[in-house]
């Protein structure tokens, strides 16, 4: 298949060239140019060789497997229409290369230039040769990138940078819209293959998603072709080197938009939406571009706006939705490419020679450069639509099409008049281009004297202009067959009859042409005075500038909107962040519930389950009322704690204790005395520990800013917190209620209840679970507890309290002041004695509590109690001593080695487990029996008791270690701060020594 191979080469060569060119040394201007030229020429020759295969509606297709899973293959497809574009891209590419070789100055880094140019050529070929829509979008975006790089080529100029950015922003955004549009089309058709899409026109047009798809695709096409209201980027892109403007912004890239419109017309055209959107955009652009072009002072500005206008003309033709319109559109694409490219090159020559492109400074250049002037004049005449030039022919077809009836509407009726007016404008600006630059007095203030013109620079212009002439005079013989091939590829078999003749007789279109020509000349005469006055910009439209709107919206988006968004949704403060997380979760839950309410088959399970109703029992009722009171009190405590958390930590902590107490009572009532006991002790120990820690926290995070302190705001915030807390509490209560009143899901509690005694040898199920059934878990838990204690200790070891905590507590200070006021000799007495009675009681309680702990431990296997509870009780004994006597007093008398307790506990537990291995049982299997001990009575002796002993020891060790860590803060900080405190004890207490030494 040589054809498909040729096709692959056409696409692959430019990219290969792009890579090669990029790696060539910087000063190889000629090699670069030869390379680029050779690539373009090769493409042109290959295209020529492929021509026979695409005539008469035939096409070449070749597929390279890429993503078979998704039906994404690299499909190359060349029909007559694509062939025409291939020739335009490679042909004009060749001429532009030749031109650029002489245009670019030796200082410019041409490596980059030719590399980008070839890359662009490849991407553009990719667009026209794509047989797959996704692939088309891919190359589409690639052209945007290369165009960005080429426009910004002279990146030292601010204009080039801005222009490049704007072009990229507009066209790449359009490309993304196109992507989604194409995805929708693919979704409708079920394939992204272009051939499949093209035959599925009816399916697409009747689909619900047709309009979104159409709008998105049009956004892509219209941005690329610089159609109103996206036309503003093209004049800005003129900051690019002139060869780039000639190539990208007249002949090829901007044509991609209209190319796509024609390509997809069979699939998506033929609807009112198409007519209105495409037609209106085209008409406005045609007229607006022509109008703006008249008033430009920059040569390239004139050409840029004229390009916009001509693209509008093509868009309008496509929008008219008739086969003849398509024919005219395709014909005009060819013609426009030739004359506009030559005009850009001519403008480039003028710039190159004189150093300026300002029409106000240029005049009489005919004398200096007669050949260029002649060529430019012919090309400009073609642009104006003067007979015997190619522009005239397609303009005639265009006029004929506007006169014909389409969709019956105001737009259709007004069309002939508006286009004649716009054509008149184009005559005016063409005339201005010719007259203003080449005629008149010799130029006086040129930035530089024209150097000799390299004759190779004129050759491309001459070639293009002769094409204009040839097509203009012998249309049927020169362009005819190619146009026919292209048209047939788009329209298939139903190509309407059209004739490519110069003379059709006196017809309405001819009259319109004449009117435009005459009107244009008259308008130019009328405007000459105004134009030479040197005003910038066009009258009447100064304010309504879409570029300004673009800039403004960019600033708005990038600054104000963004800032507002961040301010609204982003904050660096933690509390609002927490509030937002909780609030959002809450709202989401409510919203989902609301949306999928009962009407959607969702049943609310928050009713009271199916608990069997029992007879009314007055005692039970009384207890329940009482319990309800406890719960209310507990809830009030919890709310109060939340409310006070920020303002009065002590109160909050005490209230927390109240809430915990309510929980304990509830446990006790619901036949879980063991849990209640444990919970109670945990409450006590944690509260005491936190109380001790509280002493060392700074009193305030920051001082209140009294001046800006607003009570209302503060109340509002606290109210909000209260609401959140209440909502969270209610939510949890609701869950608890709902779950408790339903039958429990197949729970394992029955298993434990049944086997606690038979297999674990105990009747206290909770304890049996802890030390036997789930012994392994407990081992893990106590390990964690030990680790936590060590961590707390390690963290507090080097903790230095905030300065305001180093002071003695306020109460003590006040007390000492009162003491000082007493008669001599009594100073300090009151303070020392203030805890005399409670202290004594606490000391006396020490052995009592220990006994209780042992008792709790021993009965744990069968009755509420156990190692954990006993351990906590034991630590309460220690805590009381610390509270009553102070750190020094306790440690001078008691040797506690908490780290050893922890280690010992862990060893006990682990060895019990390992012990069962010795008897061939799995880890932690327990053995039990009852023993009669003298004096004490029957005592359960299970191996689990040893395990429980480990738990006990560890809990004591861990709690005491944390306690010591906290208690030592007082020693550390009072020492430097207070001179009147008794001197440190001579020999540090052993516990202290051990703790400090680690």
């Amino acid at each position: 298949m040589p054809d498909s191979m040729f096709l692959t080469f056409v696409l692959a060569l430019p990219f290969a060239g792009c890579l090669v060119a990029g790696f060539l040394p910087a000063n190889t201007r000629n090699v670069e140019a030869w390379l680029a030229g050779a690539v373009a020429l090769a493409g042109l020759i290959l295209a020529g060789a492929l021509y026979p295969a695409v005539t008469g509606g035939a096409m070449i297709r070749t597929e390279v497997e890429w993503l078979p899973a998704l039906g994404l293959n690299l499909t190359l497809r060349m029909d007559g229409f694509a062939w025409m574009f291939t020739v335009l891209i490679t042909g004009i590419g060749l001429l532009v290369t030749l031109y650029a070789r002489y245009y670019m100055s030796p200082e410019d880094p041409v490596t980059r230039f030719f590399s980008y140019l070839l890359g662009f050529m490849g991407s553009m070929l990719g667009i026209v040769l794509s047989g797959n829509l996704i692939q088309l979008v891919f190359f589409w975006e690639l052209t945007s990138i290369f165009s960005f790089l080429l426009i910004g080529y002279w990146h030292h100029s601010a204009k080039a940078r801005d222009g490049a950015r704007m072009a990229l922003t507009v066209t790449a955004s359009g490309g993304l819209c196109l992507l989604v549009g194409v995805l929708i089309v693919g979704h409708i058709v079920g394939s992204y293959d272009l051939d499949r899409v093209l035959v599925s026109g009816n399916q697409i047009r009747s689909h619900d998603l047709y309009l979104p798809a159409l709008l998105l695709i049009l956004l892509g096409a219209l941005t690329k072709s610089a159609q109103f209201p996206f036309h503003f980027w093209l004049p800005q892109a003129m900051a690019a080197p002139t060869p780039v403007s000639a190539y990208l912004h007249s002949a090829t890239m901007v044509k991609a938009g209209v190319f796509l419109l024609v390509r997809l017309w069979p699939a998506m055209g033929g609807t009112d939406a198409w007519f209105w959107i495409v037609g209106t955009a085209g008409l406005i652009t045609f007229a607006l571009g022509a109008y703006l072009a008249i008033f430009q002072q920059d040569l390239k500005g004139v050409l840029a706006n004229s390009t916009i206008s001509h693209l509008g003309l093509i868009t309008l033709l496509i929008g008219l939705d008739s086969p003849l319109g398509i024919v005219a559109a395709i014909f005009h694409m060819m013609n426009h490419a030739t004359f506009k490219a030559s005009l850009f090159m001519a403008a480039g020559i003028i710039d190159h020679e004189t150093g300026t492109r300002d029409i106000r400074r240029l005049s009489g250049l005919y004398r200096l450069m007669p050949i260029t002037a002649t060529l430019a004049m012919v090309a400009a005449a073609a642009m104006a639509g003067v007979p015997l030039l190619n522009g005239f022919l397609s303009k005639e077809m265009f006029f004929a099409e506007t006169v014909a009836e389409h969709v019956d509407s105001i737009l259709d009726d007004a069309l002939p008049y508006v286009v004649t007016l716009a054509a008149m404008f184009s005559v005016t600006y063409s005339l201005r281009f010719i007259h203003g630059v080449f005629f008149g007095p010799p130029p006086t203030d040129l930035p530089r004297q024209p150097p000799p013109l390299p004759s190779w620079m004129v050759v491309p212009v001459a070639l293009l202009v002769s094409a204009c002439l040839l097509v203009g005079i012998f249309p049927a013989a020169t362009a005819g067959p190619f146009l026919d091939t292209a048209v047939r590829a788009v329209l298939g078999s139903d190509v309407p009859p059209y004739s490519l003749k110069v003379w059709h007789g006196i017809t309405v279109p001819l009259l319109m042409s004449l009117a435009a020509l005459t009107g244009g000349v008259l308008l130019y005469r009328a405007l000459r005075g105004y134009l030479s006055s040197g005003a910038e910009g066009s009258p009447g439209l100064g304010r309504l500038d879409s570029q300004r709107i673009f800039d403004w919206s960019m600033v708005f988006l990038s600054w104000r909107a963004a800032k507002t968004g961040v301010d609204l949704l982003g904050t660096r403060r933690l509390q609002p962040q927490i509030r937002l997380v909780v609030g959002a979760a809450f709202v989401a839950a409510l919203w989902t519930l609301y949306r999928h309410g009962p009407h959607n088959g969702l049943h609310y399970g928050l009713h009271a389950g199916h608990a069997e109703s029992s007879a009314f029992d007055p005692v039970l009722a009384l207890v329940l009322v009482w319990l309800a009171g406890v719960w209310l009190a507990g809830a009030a405590c919890a709310v109060g704690a939340a409310y006070q958390a920020k303002y009065h930590r002590l109160a909050a902590l005490i209230l927390m204790g109240g809430a915990g107490l309510a929980v304990c009572i509830t446990f006790a009532w619901y036949s879980a005395p063991d849990l209640a006991l444990t919970q109670l002790l945990v409450e006590i120990v944690t509260t005491v520990l936190i109380l001790l820690g509280l002493r060392w926290l700074p009193k305030r995070f920051e001082t209140i800013d009294v001046e800006n302190y607003r009570v209302a705001t503060s109340w509002f915030r606290r109210g909000g917190d209260l609401a959140i807390a209440a909502a969270a509490g209610l939510g949890l209560s609701a869950v608890a209620y709902a779950v408790m009143t339903r039958s429990a899901p197949d729970s394992i509690s029955r298993f434990f209840l049944e086997r606690a005694y038979t297999e674990g040898g105990g009747t206290n199920v909770v304890n049996v679970i802890l030390v036997d059934f789930r012994g392994f878990d407990t081992l893990g838990e106590i390990t964690v507890l030990g680790a936590v204690a060590l961590t707390v200790y390690a963290l507090l070891r080097r903790f230095r309290p905030a300065p305001d905590s180093i002071e003695r507590p306020e109460q003590q200070i006040r007390e000492s002041e009162r003491d000082d006021a007493l008669p001599d000799g009594q100073s300090g007495v009151a303070l020392a004695d203030s805890l005399l009675v409670p202290g004594l009681i606490m000391r006396l309680l020490y052995p009592v509590i220990m006994t209780v702990a042992v008792y709790l431990f021993m009965r744990g296997h069968d009755l509420p109690g156990g190692g954990f509870v006993a351990g906590l009780t034991m630590s309460v004994a220690f805590i009381l001593q610390y509270m009553a006597g102070g750190t020094r007093w306790v440690e001078a008398r008691l040797t506690i080695l908490p780290v050893r307790w922890i280690a010992l506990g862990l060893l006990f537990a682990a060895f019990t487990g390992i012990g069962s291995w010795l008897y061939g049982y799995p880890f932690l299997t327990s053995y039990f029996r009852y023993e009669d001990l003298p004096l004490i009575g029957t005592v359960p002796l299970a191996s689990a008791v040893v395990f429980d002993l480990g738990v006990f020891t560890l809990v004591v060790g861990a709690t005491v270690l944390i306690l010591i860590a906290l208690a030592h803060q007082s020693i550390r900080t009072h020492r430097p701060a207070k001179a009147d405190v008794p001197a440190p004890i001579a020999a540090p207490a052993p516990a202290l020594a051990q703790a400090e030494g680690q």
Binding site: A69, A172, L179, V180, I184, H187, A589, G601, L602
Partner: protein
Amino acid sequence: MTLPAMLPALPEIFLAVFGMALMMLGVFSPEKRAFKTVCTFSIAALLATLVLVLANPGGRGVAFNGLFIVDGFALYMKVLVLIGSVVTLLMSERFLRHEGMDRFEYPVLIVFATLGMMMMLSANDLIALYLGLELQSLSLYVVAAFQRDSLRSTEAGLKYFVLGALSSGLLLYGCSMIYGYAGTTEFASIARVVSAGALPAGLVIGLVFLITGLAFKVSAVPFHMWTPDVYEGAPTPVTAFFSVAPKIAAIGLFLRVMVGPFDGMIAEWRQVIVFISVLSMVLGAFAAINQTNIKRLMAYSSIGHVGYALMGLAAGGRSGVTAVLVYMTIYLFMNIGTFACILSMRRQGSMVEGIDDFAGLGKTNPKMAMAMLIFMFSLAGIPPLGGFFGKLYVFMAAIQAGLVTLAIIGVVASVVGAFYYLRIVKLMYFDDAAEPFDTPIGKGVGAVLAVTAVITLLFFVGLSPVVEVADAAAASLLQN
């Protein structure tokens, strides 16, 4: 529990044991060499785990009585996570030494976080899910605050911890609701309850809270506020880590939960996901625009990218899951690459983080600028770079699922997003050169930079096999 029955969890068990051994190694090594030794061994351990994961014969396997599942999906995501962790460690070593943070706990914590992520990805039960999630989170809280002398870093760690704990609470609340109303924590059994019809409201509430917790972990709007602060405050290698591995793992977990047990409730949760996806994309795009700190910018960028991934999740089904997998794959490489650039931003030995510091990089360090250009274009989703394909698949899946509006919002957001990525490109190439960055940037970072740049640039070459594997992984997830 016999050994062969635990075989599916072999990589995790290996990593856990090795991680603990590493900790001992660190404690008992001489202090000067500890960091380097542990770092090297951690990388080796993670690589070995990667080999173990890849050596899995494929097919489904469960361990621990069905709490732990291994399937194609888990394997795919684990490979991504492990790559992320290994590369982060590679990049961190030099940086931490420069900043005087070279303590051996860092690599150990990364190893444990990775272990947590692997367990998340293999979770087949709400309890297992929570276990993995917390192991990961707790390790991350610590590494976020690893620069203990820096106020920003400690603040970041604390903030992350407080909010993370809160979100874990919400997640647990959701889990208990689900357990209460479905009567089980096992994914397969939940799926049976869900498909039985007549959903209890409690289950829906539970699911919403579960989503809330997961959304926090992936930092989707409106649960994103921690992200910019933590990204900015944490030491840069940690930020790099945050932006890839945990994110990928959390997205994987999100998929596993939503497409697994709750697939039958898609009507209930799709709206929520669509909503947070839209918010994430839009906020990620807009809020990034006027950032001045590159790490903060990347935080918003990652929020936006999560929005796109969630778009794939909202689409659901095989194509949706495939899209997310492809998206996360390319996201991994381009994000790591970007952070490799950020890690190389040093002037006279100290770190700079301003976006303006990129000015003129095209002149002062053309290679790095070229790599950064590739990453920025890819993050913006411009073809032919990898990021484009990620977006392409996500958009395709969304449109297939009929979520056209979502796709369009996605496009608009990526247009806005392109703006700030291109701003960096503009700074690098068009603005006057600032003082050059220190060179050399170090072998590790340099290699990462080069490799990720090449992968991002040439992603389309290997796209086909990646998509095939991702598709198979998605199919394996849907089978469960």
